[in-house]
């Protein structure tokens, strides 16, 4: 049963990656990566059960943390980059 859930998650991850490569806008890519991250967290948790190793949950937790920080970081970066671009255009 875990296997079924794991496979469904795998397929979802694949689709997310596809979206990340296809774009078309930057935000689509970030969205896809975020989705991919959440799916990975779940995937690792399910996998931990599949293999009978509950300490995998630690990794899943770290993933959840890091995924959030990365997405926010990436967003802030592009936001920041835009403000600089704007100030350049005006100058």
């Amino acid at each position: 049963m875990f296997l079924a859930a794991a496979i469904a998650l795998m397929v979802a991850m694949m689709l997310a990656i596809l979206r990340a490569f296809m774009g078309p806008t930057l935000y689509d890519r970030i969205l896809a990566v975020n989705l991919f991250g959440t799916k990975t967290v779940l995937f690792i948790a399910v996998l931990g059960y599949l293999m009978g190793r509950p300490e995998f949950l630690d990794i899943a937790l770290v993933y959840a943390l890091i995924n959030f920080i990365t997405v926010i970081g990436v967003l802030r970066f592009f936001e920041y980059k835009r403000t600089v671009d704007d100030s350049k255009e005006e100058a």
Partner: protein
Amino acid sequence: MLMGVYSLLSASFFVLMDAVDVAFTEAAVGAGISTILMLTVLAMAGRFENRALHHPRIALFVVIGTGIMLVYGTFDMPAFGDANAPVQTHVAPHYIQQSADEIDIPNIVTSVLASYRGFDTFGEVVVVFAAVIGVLALLEMKSGEASNELAPAPMYQHKILRIVGKILIPPIMLFALYVQFHGEYGPGGGFQAGVIFSAAIILHAILFGVEKTQKAISLPIVKILAALGVLIYGSVGIVAMLNGGNFLDYNALAENDITGQHVGIIVIELGVGITVATAMMVIFLTFARRVGKANGETA
């Protein structure tokens, strides 16, 4: 950013191969910190990119050539999971079979990393520290001029981000420390803990601006701490020598061999954690400050 996906993927592979600790490191370092550091560097370097000096095709050629050679090299390696492979027959069986008796902690990876391979790990910590020194040497040369901070995007509008960030940062830090001290029992240890802790600080810097983070965590102190981490590691070795053992021979730290190993591992993991955490913070904060400076000059 696709690099981040790559890290996530490879971490999944490590999970599949049952290498929990490696996956942990990859998750923390590869997916998070490296992406953020790359972006910071991009923010800094992107503005004044020099014209390429050599033809990019040559570089591509070199990369492809190296890739082919690497793939060719792997043909010589034993098949994955081959029991007769040199890796499996050399020291690994000793580590796996004796670890429980000699060191008595459940996570073999930690005992290998911190005890059997104490010298190697010490070397890695020193490398991290050297990286910090390198970054500082390159970026702080023009110190003294008034630092003009990372242009603060209007944070007061990001109500949701601010509040959620405030709620999340303390638990993240605590989780980092949890990983630090449970390295003996589950996956984790100093390297991962350091990265997670610094990630919490970096999140704070991203959300509230570098200026505010620096007010709370002054760079000089962090730099001293980075050195202190290496010092802790090294001094464990020296204390062991004073007690009549070899450098980094934890058995000499206490009356009982096993207690000695425990104490030694905990202390050096702490040293590793401090060094890694502070190293990441120093690198990020220095870069972020430079970003502000560089753009102040060009914009």
